[in-house]
Structure formats: structure tokens, C-alpha cells
Amino acid sequence: MEAILTVNNLKTTFLTGSGAVQAVRGISFQVGKGEIVGIVGESGSGKSVSSMSILRLLPGTARIDRESSIVFDGQELTGLTPKQLRQIRGKRISMIFQDPMSSLNPLIPVGKQVEEMLKIHHKELTREQLRRQVLELFGQVRIPEPEKRLKEFPHQFSGGMRQRVMIAMALANKPDLLIADEPTTALDVTIQDQILKQLRTLQQESGASIIFITHDLGVVAELCQRVLVMYGGLIMEEAPIDDLFENPGHPYTMGLMASIPALNQDKTGRLPSIPGSPPDMTNPPQGCPFAPRCPYARKICAAQCPPYVSLGENRRSMCWLLQPDAPAENNPFRKEAAR
């Protein structure tokens, strides 16, 4: 598959009073044309920061490492001037954010906010053309009574409706890549489902690529073709969606799967969870970041970061236990093979 986005060795650091927080510590991945890639991880894993780094939407304290490379459609983004980057923002790459309640300007009617997105990149459009396009976009994302709604303000919209406005805005200029940063996290489950279905339909119609960031493996299963599992600012595992669920290739992924409540769950028992908490990113561990919480951790795990092991096409994982010379005792991957 032809790549629309190639990220190579992305490192993003925040300068804070208590030291440099290494939020993203060198990640590399590709997104194919028309592909939906999920990035999964818990809070603080670096998944949002990775996605914001692409369009440089991070606060002023963030620094992207000089050696990082982000190539979008043959163009290196890291060296672009702010002006050049603005030509890409909103036009070729657009974003949907987590919190629809605060992501729209409270003082501007929603129609105007969507219209602005068109106007910035298409100065030739007349007022009437703009209006018609906004109405069309509102129709596409199923906002009822678009004529009336576009004059209303964000506070007159429910969370789900606001996220639809955000999606309409993001799709306005038919971008090649849509980055959705937890777009359904703040919504309740029924609305979540509607929004996901809509995103998929819109993606099929437009052929845009999507990077979908979430902490919800269920959402990933529903939407994505390929998944990156992030932890401690690194990609722990990358796998096509079916392979990941059938045969997780990293102890962290296994832990995440075990934490998904089942429908026939024993309601008196405790929901399984991964003990411990994510590493302190001002002083990230030398070895595998998951080692302190890993039930299979060995001495080497804390001392040295494991290299990626290829587990097939589009599949890699970062775990010492996948090495050919890893001991078979207390090794989840060997047990699988023995079975």
C-alpha cells in the first residue's frame, strides 16, 4: 500500500519546571492511503502527543527532536515554516479532538466556524457557495434542520451534535488524512456508536486515511485495519486488527485485552487490571517501559530496551521474550507455541 504518512523516529519532549518530560521517545510508523490506523494506549502513553506533533499543535513548551521526520505525501513536515504548515493544516490534514464541549468557540455560531474552515483555504468561494457547502456538510454528518442549526451557538448543541460539527469541519476541505484524537471518549455509548459508523461511512466515501487515537480496544476493533499499541512513549506492538485480537504479540497488549469486561463477566468478582502505574516520563526507564508491571519480566527487561521482532507482514513487537533464545519458562509466547 502506498503510504500517505511516514513518521520516522519521532521524539517529542515537554520542557517543564521539574525537568524534560519525554512524552514520545522515538516512534516510527506508516499510514497507507485510505487506511484506518488505530493508536491505542492508556493516558500518558504518548498517543495524543504523537498525533499533535504531526501538525505541531502542541503548546509552546513542546520540542520535537531534530532527527524526527514526518513525511506527508512526499513532503517533509518537520522543516516547514509556520506559513507552509498552515497550508496543510485543515486542508490536507485535519483533526477531530477529544472534547467537543470545549473544542468549539463559544461566541461564534457553529455554521460560521465550519464556514471559516472552507474560507481559509478557498478564498474564491462566494458567500452563497460557502453557505451551500456548509449546509451540505451538516447534512452529511446528519445534523437535523441544518438551516436552523448553523446559526446556533455551541452551547445550544449536545455533545454528540458538537462532535458532528467538528467532523463536518474536519471534512470540509476533503483532507487526505484525518487525525481523530479520542473523538468518542467524551460521548455516551449510543452516540459513540453513531459517530463511529458515520466516520466509517464518510471515510469510505472520501477515501481519506484516518489515524484514530483511543484507549478503547473495542472502538479499535470496530473501525481500524491496523493498530499501534503505545506505552511509555514507545510503540510496543503493531499488528493488523484481527491478528492483534487473536494472538496478541506483547504482554502489555495481553493485559489490555484481559481488562476488557466480558458480557458474561462474574459481577461479584473484580475486573482484571494491570497492576502498577505508567512510568514517570521525566525519567523514563532504561529498559522496556512496561517491565515494572509485566508479569513475565526478567532481569534483562529492566536493563535494556528490546529491539522489534517481526511477527509477519505489518506486524512487529518489542519484547525480549520473543527473541529466539528467550527461555521457555514463564514465557507466554512459548506456551502458545506448545499448545
Binding site: P82, G90, F97, S102, P106, L107, E116, I120, F153, H155
Partner: protein, 305 residues
């Protein structure tokens, strides 16, 4: 909406009544009266004067008769300046104070908001530090000190501007700077902190993601949001500046309204105390109402019921 503002005006009238009553009571609770003086005055003379102005009557009667005059727009005669009425003080003083105040307001707005914006945009850089240092000085140093320093340099040393009077446009410069110094500093700080807070909001990130330039992000998305708290403070500031300042008018010998606020109290000039207090209170309440109307126009989330 109209109903809400009608209710507000009703409340204002009630507040005004309370202000009249409280001022009247406090004023009479202070020992002495307008005709008490250091020199020995014959008791009969003082009694005759008190009788002439109705000060011998019981306080509730005095209050009612004052309020009756007030309803007809009559603030009564001054007890200290024979032949003068409080209406004359206000009619003569307010245009002077008002004009100076109006120019000061324009100066304050033109200086403080751009300063605040510049400081916020250059957050942490030398422009920010310079503006914030100046603003801190402006907030902390009292106006009479600033006035003395300005007069010393610009009038005495350099001779560029007159040290008193408003006879030419030059005469306005020092009083305006002195009068507006505090407000400029305060509002610049407020604009800066408010804008910095707004710039960290999610919808600003959305605006950036759209591909807007920083300039358009500030002018179209951030500023209106950031100016809401500034407008809140602006209401009382406008009322203060328009009604004159005792210190500034005293230093620059400006025949405004400001001096009556202090002098009338020390002289126990009852009608003048009441007059200027009511005038100021009415102004302040009107400005607060204006602020609420502005709020309503700027922020669609605010719906007055």
C-alpha cells in the same frame, strides 16, 4: 430580556433609595454640622442658621423634605457656599471632570488593551517583561506620587507642559496620564492574563488546526473571549474616571467635581455630600447595567431571564 432589564432598573431605584438613606444617616451620625466652626459663634446665630435650612427639625422630616426636592431634580442649596446650589456644583464641575475623564478613558483603552495583547503574545520575552514591570509600577505607586514626578520633570525641568489648568490641549496630558495610570496598568495585566488563559483553550487549538494565522486566531477567536473580564472591570472604571478624582484635580488645579467628594465631608456640607454621592452612585449603577448589556451582546451563552 426587556423584562429582565426593566426589573434591573427597578432594583436600581431601590438601591438608590437605600444609598440615600444610609448616606443621610451616616452623615448625621458624624458629630458637628455645617455651621459649627472654630470661631466662637453665638448660639443664637447657629440656631437661626439651623432654622433657616430646616436643620432644627427631626431627622426623618429632614430626610423626607430632601427626598421631595430630589424627586424634582433639586439637590438643595450648599450650606457652606452661600447662594450656591449643589446643582450648580454638578453642572459646573461635571463637564470639566467628564471631559477629562472621557479623554482618560480613550487613553486607557488605547494603551491598556494593546499592551496586554502584546505582553500575552510575547509571553516571557522582553516586551512582556517590560510591559509587566511598567504595569506593576503603575498599579503600586499612588497617583499623587506619579503626578508629582510628572510635574517635576515635564513642567518644572523640561517646561513642556503646564503644571496646572486645562487651558490648552497640552494641559490635558499630565492629568490624563496620572488619572489613567492605574487603570492602564490594571487593565493591561488583566488583558494579558485573560488572553493567555484563552490561548490555552481547546477551541484555539481547533482554530490552529484549521490553518488560521496567529494574528487571525487572536483577532477572531481569542480576543472577544479574553475581553469579557476586561469589560466587567471597565464599567466601574468608567464611572470613576468620569466623575472626577480628588487627588488629580487638586494637584493640577482643575475645577472639576472631584474636590467636592472630600471637601464636602470635612465641611459637613450635608446637601453637597448627598448630591455628589447620589450622582456617583447613579453613574456607577448605570455603568454596571451597560456592562451587562454588553455582556449580552458579546456572549450568546448569557441569557437574562
Amino acid at each position: 430580556m426587556a423584562k429582565y432589564f426593566a426589573k434591573r432598573v427597578g432594583m436600581m431605584i431601590l438601591s438608590m433609595l437605600a444609598i440615600c438613606l444610609i448616606t443621610f444617616s451616616l452623615m448625621h451620625a458624624v458629630p458637628g454640622g455645617p455651621f459649627t466652626s472654630d470661631r466662637k459663634v453665638a448660639e443664637e446665630v447657629e440656631a437661626a442658621l439651623n432654622e433657616k435650612y430646616g436643620l432644627d427639625k427631626p431627622l426623618p422630616v429632614q430626610f423626607l423634605s430632601y427626598m421631595k426636592g430630589l424627586l424634582h431634580g433639586d439637590f438643595g442649596p450648599s450650606y457652606k457656599y452661600t447662594g450656591k446650589t449643589v446643582n450648580e456644583f454638578i453642572e459646573n464641575g461635571f463637564p470639566v471632570s467628564g471631559r477629562l475623564g472621557f479623554i482618560t478613558i480613550v487613553f486607557v483603552l488605547l494603551a491598556s488593551i494593546p499592551m496586554g495583547i502584546l505582553a500575552a503574545v510575547r509571553n516571557g520575552k522582553w516586551q512582556d517583561m517590560l510591559i509587566m514591570a511598567a504595569a506593576t509600577i503603575g498599579v503600586t505607586i499612588p497617583s499623587f506620587v506619579i503626578a508629582s514626578i510628572l510635574v517635576y520633570f515635564f513642567s518644572y525641568r523640561l517646561g513642556w507642559m503646564p503644571s496646572y489648568g486645562l487651558d490648552s490641549w497640552k494641559g490635558y496630558i499630565l492629568p490624563v496620564v496620572t488619572l489613567g495610570g492605574y487603570s492602564v496598568s490594571y487593565l493591561a495585566r488583566l488583558t494579558r492574563s485573560s488572553l493567555l488563559e484563552v490561548m490555552g483553550q481547546d477551541y484555539i487549538r481547533t482554530a490552529r488546526a484549521k490553518g488560521l494565522s496567529e494574528f487571525k486566531i487572536i483577532t477572531r477567536h481569542a480576543l472577544r473571549n479574553a475581553l469579557l473580564p476586561v469589560i466587567t472591570v471597565l464599567g466601574p472604571t468608567v464611572a470613576n474616571l468620569l466623575t472626577g478624582s480628588f487627588v488629580v484635580e487638586n494637584i493640577f488645579a482643575i475645577p472639576g467635581l472631584g474636590k467636592y467628594f472630600v471637601n464636602s465631608v470635612s465641611q459637613r456640607d450635608y446637601t453637597t455630600i448627598m448630591g455628589v454621592t447620589i450622582f456617583y452612585a447613579a453613574f456607577l449603577m448605570a455603568m454596571v447595567l451597560v456592562v451587562d448589556v454588553f455582556y449580552c451582546l458579546i456572549d450568546p451563552r448569557i441569557q437574562y431571564e
